[in-house]
């Protein structure tokens, strides 16, 4: 807001562009739904865990719990507490990074960019771990 920006009217320029993106996204969704229908496996039986397939966005978390269990310690409460602490750090980020500029090119804030890339790579590794490790045995701990 401080700097002088190039500006265009919301209507019709921005509206037309938004409609274009929206049509594209809806088209992609229809194609995905038509060619890759939502899966449905065997019916679950209450109290019986025979398979664990975490959704892709939770798989880093599952991977972390399983990794902790088999490589670090069977004490689960620490393994669950750590992601909560990380979440708190993410939540409080604006109060930790007190940079002056309201936004910067990623290359100008190298330390933060490297930390961000390292974190994303860690999540990818943990997701990979969740898909390859036997996490079904992990569930037995819980039941």
């Amino acid at each position: 807001m401080k700097k002088q920006e190039l500006r265009i009217p919301f209507f019709p320029y921005q509206v037309v562009r938004e409609l274009g993106v929206a049509s594209f996204v809806l088209g992609v969704l229809l194609l995905l739904a038509a060619y890759f229908p939502a899966p449905l496996g065997e019916e679950a039986k209450v109290g019986e865990i025979t398979a664990i397939e975490p959704q892709w966005y939770l798989s880093p978390l599952f991977g972390f719990l399983a990794f902790w269990d088999s490589n670090i310690s069977p004490n689960q409460s620490m393994a669950v507490a750590l992601p909560v602490v990380i979440l708190l750090v993410i939540l409080l980020l604006p109060f930790i990074d007190r940079g002056e500029e309201e936004a910067e090119h990623p290359l100008k804030r190298r330390a933060w960019s490297i930390a961000g890339i390292a974190f994303v790579l860690l999540l990818l590794y943990l997701a990979y771990y969740a898909y390859t490790a036997d996490i079904t045995s992990y569930a037995e701990l819980l039941t």
Partner: protein, 219 residues
């Protein structure tokens, strides 16, 4: 005089909305908003709208009771006309929504756009991320097949091992620290009522703050 003009005149006489509409349409927006990295939040919202529409359609057939849930999903998938398409749209829009929210968050992170004056909107955004995850996992549970049952058990039971409040939090939302048939009904309530209400409210606050503060840019 066109029909639209007549309609707007009619509404303007009663509600005095003409100047508001004109101001909204003529509002100047930053040109760099055309950059594709800035459309991710909008894509997430669009996917949310698809979820609302398809979700309402699915709710007409889904039975949130452990004894009937799986069978009702089977009926939706194989017997209800267009049921599989609507269910698949719901499935994919959910995945797209989560992917878009995550990418949107990465964009904000790498630009440092959470800094002053946008601290509050970052907090709301993280809350929305958590709600989106809860949307996904509670919806996955509703399918009630072997794979989703196992994953749901872990997500529900793992927080209970947290020191101090873990078990208490699980009990507040699900009534007990165990996966029973009733857990499904409670997750259904979360999925179709509590989370949508909370998410929609936070989205409105999120958008109003963006409108007030503008988008952060280093260009």
């Amino acid at each position: 005089m066109s029909l639209t003009t007549k309609l707007i005149d009619w509404l303007d006489e009663r509600l005095g909305i003409r100047s508001d509409i004109e101001r909204a349409l003529r509002k100047m927006v930053p040109k760099q908003a055309a950059n594709p990295v800035y459309c991710l939040g909008g894509v997430a919202f669009l996917a949310f709208l698809v979820e609302v529409v398809t979700g309402i359609a699915l709710a007409r057939y889904y039975l949130p009771d452990a004894a009937f849930a799986y069978e009702s999903v089977r009926v939706i998938t194989y017997e209800v006309p267009l049921g599989s398409l609507v269910r698949s749209l719901h499935y994919w829009a959910g995945n797209v929504m989560i992917a878009a929210v995550l990418l949107h968050m990465l964009r904000v992170y790498f630009m440092g756009a959470y800094r002053k004056p946008r601290e509050l909107n970052w907090l709301v955004g993280v809350a929305l991320l958590l709600l989106t995850f809860t949307f996904g996992f509670s919806g996955y549970a509703l399918r009630w097949d072997v794979a989703s049952y196992g994953a749901t058990s872990v997500v529900v039971l793992a927080p209970a091992s947290l020191p101090f409040a873990g078990a208490w939090v699980v009990r507040v939302f699900l009534g007990e620290v165990a996966i029973t048939g009733e857990t499904l009904t409670r997750l259904y309530f979360l999925h179709v009522f509590l989370i949508p209400m909370a998410a929609f409210t936070l989205m409105i606050i999120h958008f109003l703050m963006v409108r007030r503060q503008g988008i952060a840019s280093y260009m």
